[in-house]
Symmetry: C2
Subunit: 322 residues, 2 copies
């Protein structure tokens, strides 16, 4: 993971150098604050690795990499308003620390900043980069809208749910990688394979996220186990359970959704899911997407030693309880 850590440190350094004017302070202070909250910074590293895979200097993809990370942060600031989230990475969200109008407007300016960074790439790559970035940005918004729509629906199907997580989170991983490939002048076929690698890793990662919520080791898990269950959130586990449940089990799950004893609610839900085999089914689906990702990468026509860092990163992402 040496390469990953080096790239990460480089991104972190460059991100803190993205210039924001002093004034208006209410517009730019929130951005300086939010970009310092940290995060995994996986997306920009993927862009550098995408360029590296096809033999380009990762440095040549730096602005595109920063652009993806800045876009991701824009979407977090606006999502936090919509989700009324008080905390992000254990710190106050922008709309909490300042106010909602400031969170809307500083988010807007951060989205424009993403385009400013992207526009620093070589002119000959701009049409392809812009097309990919624009399509992805629209899809991320669509995913967020579907997520909000699903909260009010009781008939969400599993394919709909997978499509929602694909749009909301996975396409940006695919985009991050493909931007690196574009900058390295990879063929459109190779570009699409790398995109697919990111897309399927993203879906597998989100499914794992749903599973870990209920089945993580509390000692190693960074947040409260069962948080999704307590909040009655729609997850893959929950949708699958309702699809498979007998009418008796449906009524027990309905009762549990009103249960105020959280420990009991979480433990009993876990038991029911285990009885029904829901965990195993979700793990299978996760592995299918992981395998599709690895399969797409294996088809990329580059020596396998060049693919090592991407595979290591994928394995790292899929073996976490953090």
């Amino acid at each position: 993971m040496k390469q990953f850590e080096e790239m990460l440190a480089h991104i972190e350094r460059e991100l803190s150098n993205v210039p924001f004017p002093a004034s208006p302070a209410n517009l730019y202070d929130p951005l300086r604050y939010f970009l310092k909250l940290g995060g995994k910074r996986v997306r920009p590293v993927l862009t550098l690795m995408g360029a590296d895979l096809f033999g380009a200097d990762p440095e040549s993809a730096l602005h595109a990499a920063l652009s993806v990370e800045v876009f991701h942060n824009f979407s977090l600031i606006h999502d936090d308003i919509m989700d009324e989230a008080p905390l992000r990475r254990n710190q106050s969200t922008v709309h909490e620390k300042w106010n909602q109008n400031i969170a809307i407007l500083s988010g807007d300016v951060l989205l424009v900043k993403a385009y400013q960074l992207l526009a620093k790439q070589e002119a000959r790559h701009l049409p392809d980069l812009l097309n990919l970035f624009n399509t992805t940005a629209v899809e991320v918004c669509e995913g967020q809208q579907l997520d909000m729509d699903f909260e009010k629906r009781t008939d969400v199907t599993i394919p709909e749910y997978i499509e929602m997580i694909r749009l909301k989170t996975s396409v940006l991983l695919g985009c991050a990688l493909e931007m690196g490939a574009i900058i390295a002048d990879a063929s459109s076929e190779e570009r699409k394979l790398l995109y697919r690698f990111g897309e399927h890793i993203g879906i597998a990662f989100q499914i794992q996220d749903d599973i870990l919520d209920l089945f993580a080791d509390p000692e190693k898990f960074g947040k409260q186990v069962g948080g999704d269950v307590i909040a009655n959130k729609k997850t893959l586990l929950n949708l699958k359970a309702r699809e498979m449940a007998s009418s008796e089990q449906i009524s027990e799950l309905d009762q549990l959704s009103h249960q105020t004893n959280h420990t009991f609610k979480v433990d009993r839900t876990r038991e029911i899911y285990e009885e029904m085999g829901v965990r195993g089914i979700c793990e299978q689906l996760m592995e299918q997407h992981y395998n599709s990702a690895v399969d797409a990468l294996s088809k990329v026509n580059r020596p396998s030693e060049h693919k090592k860092s991407l595979l290591t990163l994928a394995e790292f992402l899929m073996n976490r309880e953090h």
Copy 2:
């Protein structure tokens, strides 16, 4: 004005053809609705005229023109949330008709749509177009932030106020024109002159807006005369009056700000401003900016018959009580 009306009809037609998917309906229905509310569509016409001035087919600047208008509509949707405005062009605003989250997210996607339209211009123009568009978009956000900041301040100076309206509205007129000039391959000097024409027309127009609020003929004025006075809004009139007022006049203006008889409040404010000569001073400043605009255009090295439609449009904008 034949050319203007033809261009306007063309823009209106093309704007209604900008494609939005059917789903998610909560994301795209608001955009279909909002773009149909109409508006003066001055900005996209300026882009077409900018291209035309330098001998390019206006059609070649169509996507840039639509991009500017779509950006303008994005900013209106988000501004309406921040200003808690219930109406826009006598129809419900997006956050009123749907809800605030939908207004945030559909605004976001409309901003991306502006970039998608811009990216349809020829690749060789993209770096210049993007640089100008990005800078302008950031400035428009800065202007909106300053406007919100000013609401809470009591020490706003006239230069600060002019800078706020320049950022919030005028730079987009300059940008619209300069994009046309870029597409027509005008020199950077000619581009800047045309930008300056738009920028000063924009400031003159905004000053006129402030004056008309209190001094328009109620028969011809499209909205309530004195609306800014009733709402105690900071305008050029109000800032100039406070700058010039004696301590006696200050205390009368302070009393008037709490007056609940709106007719009296508006009429007495108008009287005081007339006594102080505030109206004339503001009209002078408006004319200075109008003259700076005309002066910049006169320096553009093109035959004067090619400048006619821009001058006619500027005169039209400055002779309105609507």
